[in-house]
Amino acid sequence: MALDSAKKSELLKKLEQGVVEFEDDEVRDAAQEWVDSGEDTYDAIFDGLVAGMEEVGRLFSAQEYFVPEMLMAADSLYIGLDILKPHMVARDSGVKGTVVIGTVQGDVHDIGKNIVKMMFDVAGFNVYDLGRDVALEDFLKKQLETNSDIVCLSAMMTTTMMGMPKVIEMIKEKNPNCRIMIGGAPITDDIVGKFGADATAKDASNALEEAVKMVVSLREIQKEANAKN
């Protein structure tokens, strides 16, 4: 049974609102109904769930939502994704890149990193999450293995933040085109410059914006390089 456009937009609205208002049941039902119809689930994910998460990100930036709301929304989002993703027809989604993300050695705080990771997930990035307390050289290893566009480093403590410039140096030496984003409580714009990173972000949706920008600029560099060849 195919979905007519009225039904489609109703379900999309349900998915979106369900995420924004953490209505797990709404999301589950709408996602299931979509899957049962046999339609490709691509739109349901991106125009429904992800649209909702983008709104959550906006509310978070505006400080209307806080960590608990963010995590509750994420729960609803993942409920929907679990149902919809297996039925999605793969396609090229434009500017989406590969990200290696983790909390640096000595640091075990990862709530912030998990939120950023989730935003990448929903935006369709290929995410390699190394977890927390990650040995510095493991970031380099994974970057080389996956040839990721971006490496994201997180630290909550000033003591562990000091490991970041070492990772940045290692990666930039092997792969100067890789973009590096750093984040966490002690990170400021000045630190970004001092450590030689490419960007920081004050919250998750900001991180996503920055990441998309970085990927776009990387692709342009590559295009230029290809054109020359």
Partner: protein, 660 residues
């Protein structure tokens, strides 16, 4: 016009200052008070400040004295050469030209910090490690040529039944003269079998000093070892604040400045301790030589810096300490100015993040002897929690409360000093506040001059709790869009909502004092982390509730217990089961000074406490998240339920009004 970041320590106030402004004006605009008696007429020389040079990671500030306008003739006249070399400037004459970190020395500070580390009453009888014994001996003769040392040892044995088996070299060097001058009638000071002092005649009272080295403040108690009473108290800012406000940034400072960073911070604390010892003995008309033993408690990082141990490993997971066991060090090895034969006892650390200060709390409160299950919360720059009873044993954990509860990282936060708003009530109907500031008796609404400068820790807890009670913010900490008050407005710079606690006319800083959405968030994180720590420990013990909550810490005793409970800082208990015990860490230090059984107990109990590393608990994220809501996303708070039921729902009220 270009602006530069200027940070004032030890208050931690910081902000962007327009290029060319003088430091005195910069300080005022940030709510930092600097003495200026002459009113910028360049005559008093009181507004001295010191520029700290270096790159400070935490602020991203590269501070140097050349970021100020040039040295002036007036400063040449009023400051000493040594001061010039140590980068002192007069704040009315030095103009901002770049980023700066400026230290305001004690003597230049207007408005002294209020000492909130008063000594409590001890529950144990004195039985100190350091004992004194009056002995009389016969002078040696040709028939009795025994050496001086054995003569003293024998007299101690015969006259008091105490055993001495060694003597400190410095004491020995002066003993021969002392014995003869006093005609062989002396009082011997004995510390764990060692003779450390021989004083002429009969000494009746003697003293020791207990010290609590906090990240922010240091408190020292001159204690009568016969009665156990604190006879004088001294409190100072920890001078290390200029190198970083929290332990992590201090450890980073040490890592970033190998060879000099640790040394600088170590020397700073030793100097401060020596100054404090000086004032204590002077106040009590005794001398430094009269002090033979000190007991110190501090968190792990302060412990390492005090002993000049490399603190970097304590700063990263898995946070191992150099040594957990209690330690006895000669005062002279640390350069601490008491009797040259004197000794320093440093209490045991429990775990990487739970230091000797918590050990002090542990033995002062004795949860291991309690029939009731006690939750002890020691709130400082870090929060340390203990949960236990005789039956359950004791667990500890450390929670990153952040400095918000001490008034830092709060837009108008400040330390507890005159002018700080410390108590707040908000009317549930008209949403008007009334508040009290430190140093004034009356509520603001009854006083002619209020001169509020900022909000201290207990004030910020009160105001956020009251905003919740009045429906200005909701359970999730979000500002209500419907609460009818002019005091709720938007910050024109970032569009975030804020609540005006004090209008400009009630403040001495020339602007309104507000509570921002960001402030509420910081408090949610702090309160949530404490509750989450408690919950994980309760899971570990397999219990559903606690019987009693003890709030310790300098600041704990000034908290409004009801406000804390309404925000859900800890699990629900009846209000009469919430106790404030003041500086329990300092009390524990004093106990160890005056009672040797307690000292032995401390070392044993510190080993028995089981430390939980919260971040390894998978459920921590969820538990923490739920605890961030006021009072909690799910858990019940019967004690304050009637208050929760009365919170006005402004959205509903607005809708009803519309209908009508």
């Amino acid at each position: 016009m270009s602006e530069h970041t200027v940070i004032f320590q030890p208050s931690g106030r910081r902000g962007k200052i327009a290029k060319g402004a003088n430091l005195l004006d910069a300080a005022r605009s940030l709510g930092v008070e600097i003495e200026s008696i002459c009113g910028e007429k360049k005559t008093c020389g009181k507004c001295k400040v010191q520029v700290e040079e270096g790159f400070f990671e935490k602020y991203g500030v590269d501070s140097k004295v050349s970021n100020l306008s040039g040295w002036t003739k007036d400063e040449e006249r009023m400051l000493s050469l040594a001061e010039k070399e140590n980068k002192y400037r007069l704040s009315c004459l030095a103009h901002v030209q770049g980023d700066l970190l400026v230290f305001v020395p004690e003597e230049s500070r207007g408005g002294k910090q209020v000492v909130r580390k008063k000594a409590g009453k001890l529950k144990h009888k004195p039985d100190p490690s350091l004992t004194i014994h009056y002995i009389e001996m016969k002078a040696p003769t040709l028939h009795d040529p025994e050496d001086d040392y054995l003569r003293v040892v024998a007299a101690l044995k015969e006259q008091h039944g105490v055993a001495a088996d060694r003597i400190d070299i410095h004491c020995l060097r002066v003993m021969a003269g002392a014995l003869r001058q006093a005609q062989w009638k002396v009082t011997v000071f004995l510390l764990r079998g060692e003779i450390v002092r021989v004083a002429p005649g009969k000494v009746e009272t003697y003293y020791g000093i207990a010290v609590d080295i906090g990240t922010t403040t240091v408190a020292a108690y001159l204690t009568d070892l016969k009665t156990g009473r604190a006879v004088a108290t001294e409190s100072k800012m920890n001078p290390q604040v200029i190198y970083g406000e929290d332990v992590m940034s201090r450890i980073t400072y040490s890592m970033q400045n190998p060879g000099t960073g640790l040394e600088k911070m170590h020397n700073a604390i030793i100097n401060t301790l020596n100054e404090m010892i000086g004032s204590l003995v002077e106040e009590h008309m005794i001398t430094r030589d009269d002090i033979l033993e000190m007991v110190m408690v501090c968190n792990t990082a302060m412990h390492h810096i005090l002993l000049k141990l490399d603190p970097q490993y304590v700063g990263v997971a898995p946070f191992p300490t150099a040594m957990s066991k209690a330690l006895d060090v000669r005062a002279r090895d640390l350069g601490i100015g008491i009797n040259i034969s004197g000794s320093i006892h440093v209490l045991a650390n429990e775990a990487g993040f739970v230091g000797a200060d918590n050990c002090g709390v542990l033995i002062a409160e004795e949860p291991y002897n309690s029939e009731e299950l006690m939750l002890i919360i020691d709130i400082g720059t870090n929060g340390e929690l203990l949960l236990g009873s005789k039956k359950h044993g004791v667990l500890s954990c450390s929670v990153a409360t952040g400095p918000a509860l001490e008034g830092a990282q709060i837009k108008f936060g400040m330390r507890a000093a005159p002018g700080a708003i410390e108590k707040v009530e908000i009317d549930q109907e008209n949403l008007e506040p009334r508040f009290k500031v430190i140093g004034k008796e009356l509520w603001n609404i009854d006083a002619a001059e209020i001169e509020a400068k900022g909000i201290c820790g207990s004030g910020i807890i009160d105001v956020v709790s009251e905003m919740f009670r009045a429906g200005i913010i909701d359970k999730g900490g979000r500002f209500s869009k419907h609460a009818p008050s002019e005091r709720i407005r938007k910050d024109p710079q970032n569009g975030m909502p804020e609540y005006v606690l004090a209008y400009k006319k009630e403040t001495s800083i020339g602007k309104d004092i507000v509570v921002t959405q960001g402030d509420v968030r910081a408090i949610q994180l702090a309160v949530g982390s404490i509750y989450a720590g408690a919950v994980i420990m309760m899971h570990e013990h397999g219990v559903e509730k606690v019987d009693k909550v003890v709030l310790a810490g300098a600041f704990g005793s000034h908290l409004n217990q009801f406000s804390c409970l309404l925000m859900g800082m800890f699990p629900d208990v009846p209000l009469d089961k919430i106790l404030s015990v003041g500086n329990a860490a300092g009390d524990g230090a004093r106990l160890c000074l005056v009672n040797k059984q307690k000292r032995a107990e401390a070392d044993v109990m510190a080993r028995k406490v089981r430390y939980l590393e919260l971040t390894v608990y998978k459920e921590f994220e969820r538990v923490f998240m739920k605890a961030m809501q006021f009072p909690h996303m799910e858990d019940q708070f019967p004690t304050v339920q009637h208050v929760l039921d009365e919170i006005p729902d402004w959205k509903k009220i607005a809708k009803e009004k519309e209908k009508a």
